[in-house]
């Protein structure tokens, strides 16, 4: 039975990774699960310099999901390399580094730094964080800006580039195409949805940032549709995500067009989710007599 998939030139031993920002820098969950069983570890978004992030409260629970406005708190490239890279470098599975910037140049510079580091599995370009004004969200909704960011990173590195798409567009196809044409090796679909919750007792928004990103099972049907549309628009592989809780969800994303999947919010309430999913995909393949997991991708019958 083959579970391995390729994202550009990156080989994953199975199609399951974790979603950026929901798995810290890997080490935090190492005491609860065996990271070496994952397809890849994807780390929290990093820009050039350290970022303090937003004031608290930063998350709020909502029906079948959560809102977050962490504000991309992070150690910057140097801090990451010093504090977290020594651990990640030793893993048997590749690390996908999620990067962002406020300008095209910054994206490219961060890409260049990680290219120089050596040993990185792939770079994921977050052009769709809804939680900070300069957080790249505008890059994710305008095909021209998106193409600029991707092209600049493409010029800066030979690492596989994964462009993380914004869900917040009338049609994802032109953006998906723009990323592909500008040299992206894969797409990640999708980021969180701009959302809001208000405490009616205090009349205050539940997040200090006022608004935040909705994630979790609530968004799954919208994310499935976005993956399906993106897959029709491009030839490059897609990493599907948004509310994945179990193997059935992961397989649904793959049928819609994803080559691999990422587990996000579910890590917070069930850190073993990704391992359960890998086991569940095996069971499904055995039951359906599927010998290669790549047959599942885009196998929806329409």
């Amino acid at each position: 039975m083959n579970l391995s998939v390729k994202i550009g030139k990156l080989t994953m031993q199975n199609p399951v990774t974790v979603a950026s920002g929901t798995f810290g820098y890997g080490a935090e969950y190492a005491r609860l699960i065996d990271l070496n069983q994952l397809g890849a570890v994807t780390v929290k978004g990093i820009r050039l310099n350290p970022v303090p992030g937003n004031p608290t409260p930063r998350t709020a629970e909502v029906t079948s999901g959560m809102l977050n406005a962490i504000g991309l708190q992070g150690p910057g490239v140097d801090g990451f390399i010093k504090k977290y890279w020594p651990f990640l470098r030793e893993l048997k599975v590749p690390t996908i580094i999620n990067i962002w910037g406020t300008t095209v140049e910054e994206y490219a510079e961060v890409a260049r730094r990680f290219d120089a580091l050596g040993g990185v599995g792939a770079l994921e370009l977050n052009v769709s964080c809804p939680n900070i004004k300069e957080g790249g969200a505008q890059f994710g909704t305008d095909p021209k800006l998106l193409a600029q960011v991707v092209a600049a990173c493409r010029a800066a590195t030979t690492l596989p580039l994964i462009t993380k798409m914004s869900p917040n567009v009338p049609s994802i196809a032109p953006l998906a195409k723009a990323a592909e044409d500008a040299g992206s090796d894969a797409l990640a679909v999708t980021n969180s949805f701009p959302a809001m919750a208000i405490d009616i007792e205090t009349r205050r928004p539940k997040l200090a940032n006022l608004t935040g990103g909705l994630t979790g099972p609530a968004i799954k049907p919208i994310a499935i549709k976005l993956v399906w549309e993106a897959a029709k628009a491009v030839k490059i592989p897609i990493i599907g995500m948004g509310g994945i809780q179990n193997a059935a969800d992961a397989i649904e994303f793959m049928m819609a067009g994803a080559t691999a999947v990422a587990v996000g919010t579910a890590n917070f309430y069930e850190p073993q989710t990704s391992l359960f999913i890998i086991a569940g995909i095996r069971d499904y393949m055995a039951r359906k007599q599927i010998v290669d997991v790549r047959e599942v991708t885009s196998s929806v019958r329409v």
Binding site: G21, T22, F23, G24, E28, Y29, R31, L32, K44, P52, G53, T56, P57, R58, T59, A60, E61, T63, S64, G65, M66, N68, I70, Q73, G216, P217, T265, A266, N267, F268, Y269, E270, P271, Q272
Partner: protein, 261 residues
């Protein structure tokens, strides 16, 4: 830190809206340090995904307990669960209290409401007994008096409505005691943030050591999501640190109260 599905041994009302829940968790109990917490997934909870953090209250044999207040969706469902039902817990978590060394400082504990839960193990494991100052709005908010008395601790009570002990805030009897004598004493506090700030201020004024257990909303409980951060002094400024990992217990002097506002 382990993730385990544990069985409820008992789940009984303490006073008013407070409940004591005991679970069997043989692999977890040996690891528990005072001031640590358990991150609990309340499995029958509908639509609500996240775990809830609770201080570990008591450890007995292969069981540990929490003392919780029914305040919302999760604790409401939890309060209706029965012996034999299951919960998923990740525990023990967080950086707890420094247990006083034998012959070292005399611990003065300060607690508000369910903050008492975080203090019991510290009292029990402390080589010397001390005083626990406990405050609450009404008589029903004063928990665990008997538990502390049973291990030889003195309990001093203050209630805002005067229905039990001294009338007023818990900081009054604390301050009185410290004015009597602050030397060789150390404060440990857990409770609502305004109380913690007041205790921290007293500790600073009187120059007595003080550890505070902070209560911030949590999501992952293990350091990955960056939900639970508080502002902690760093160099000339401050940095965010995680209540679930660097905390919940912090040295009171390290907290950057000024910028936290």
């Amino acid at each position: 830190m382990l993730e385990q599905t544990v069985t409820i041994v008992s789940n009984e009302r303490d006073t008013d809206q407070y409940f004591r829940l005991v679970v069997r968790a043989p692999q977890i109990t040996p690891l528990i340090q005072p001031g640590q917490f358990a991150h609990v997934r309340i499995l029958p909870l509908k639509d609500a995904l996240l775990r809830r953090p609770f201080s570990i209250f008591q450890v007995a044999g292969d069981t540990f307990s929490i003392l919780y207040k029914n305040v919302g969706k999760g604790t409401e469902v939890l309060s209706r669960m029965r012996a034999g039902e299951e919960l998923s817990v990740i525990a023990p978590l967080g950086h707890g209290f420094t247990v006083p060394a034998a012959g070292g400082e005399t611990p003065l504990l300060v607690a508000g409401g369910y903050g008492m839960a975080a203090m019991f193990l510290l009292a029990q494991r402390s080589p010397q007994t001390g005083i626990v100052f406990v405050g609450g709005r009404r008589r029903v908010d004063i928990l665990c008096e008997k538990d502390f008395a049973a291990i030889g601790w003195e309990v001093r009570v203050a209630t805002e409505d005067g229905s039990h002990g001294e009338k007023g805030l818990v900081t009054q009897p604390l301050l009185a005691e410290l004015k009597r004598s602050a030397v060789g004493r150390k404060l440990f506090a857990c409770g609502p943030t305004p109380m913690l700030e007041a205790v921290g201020k007293i500790a600073e004024d009187i120059a007595v050591a003080c550890e505070l257990s902070m209560d911030e909303h949590m999501c992952c409980g293990v350091g990955t999501c960056l939900t639970c951060v508080i502002k902690v002094k760093a160099g000339d400024g401050w940095e965010y640190q995680r209540t679930c990992t660097e905390g919940p217990v912090f040295d009171s002097r390290s907290i950057a109260w000024e910028v936290a506002k």
